[in-house]
Amino acid sequence: MPDLPEKRVGLIACSGEDLPVGTVSRMAVLQVLERLRPQDTVTLCLPLFLAGEERERAFARFYPTIAIDGCSKRCAARATEHYSARPAASLVIDDFIAEKGLPEPHGLRQLDAAGQAVTQAVAQELAHEVDRLLGKKRPTVVEVEAQAPDAEGEPEGMVVATCSCGSGIPVAQLQVNGRRVEILALPAILDQFREMGKPVNDATAGELMDAVKLYNHLPNEEEAGLREAVLSEYTRYIAAFDPASATS
């Protein structure tokens, strides 16, 4: 059965190639993606907002995002807001270093000891922010044990960072009351409902709307029109696979 994209926290690093704090942003995000919160996080390359397509730009409208910037130019936060949606949280590493009294990192290709210490601290801060955004509580002891390399419960095999590029959020455009409306995740929702054998009827329309609302903010005044459009779309979708079932 096809999966609907899960609600995770999107981490957008500036990744600044010309600055040590850019390397810190990238390494800290990778640590969260691969070790600290692999099940709860996903990422996207920042320049893909411009180079990518609508599904990439829909990224922050689907995932609550944390922008991680190296310097005060705040490319990650600004790019996310400009091309997608306002980040749910943001962190500037230069500010974080000053606030926590951490040493200044050096090195682009390979961070020095100070850079690695800052990376660890930033990664921990991000992991806590992920928990806060997802409303997850983690007892400190368990968290520490889970992060130890040999701890029981460590995911088996290699954990890889989850990248959203090329497999981003599916988006559909519907006509609602004469206006084009973009609905995040609708293709995946339709796919899932068809797999579940949901018939085309009013009850299914209600269930479809419940699923659509999980991923989209819908103004009340548009709900009726959208319900009709979503059910029509589902009817067309089912008909494409099995014309008889759509008309039954």
Partner: protein
Amino acid sequence: MSEPKPTDSDRVLIIPCSGIGKAFGSVGREAAYLVLEELRPNDTGTVCLSLLTMGDEESQQRVREQRTIAIDGCPKACARVNIEHAGAEPAAIFRVFDVFRAHKELRVQQVSDIGENGREMARILAEEVAVKVDELRGGKE
């Protein structure tokens, strides 16, 4: 008498993609840093790709005035696209996948640690880029 060092504006800008979720992005960045720090430190420079993406005036001016080499880790070609979007044309474009195609024994799996295979792939790519830098620098009037 030794040759004069190039001024900053003479340097070739090596711009890797910011690939963060794919191993080839890490390989491309490693290759860029090899060129910048080891192979041609006096002839090259870089800019943050995210600054270009955000339309930073100074970064855009640099890519328009200096020769650039894009290194991309995936078909989305963020480095090339963002250079072009800044109003410049890359002097050369390298794709990590092309190196992999020529060296399929070099499988890279992890993003944060590209391992021996990844470092080898990056070295091969970096040497190709360095040759291109020499070619571009040699062609400089």
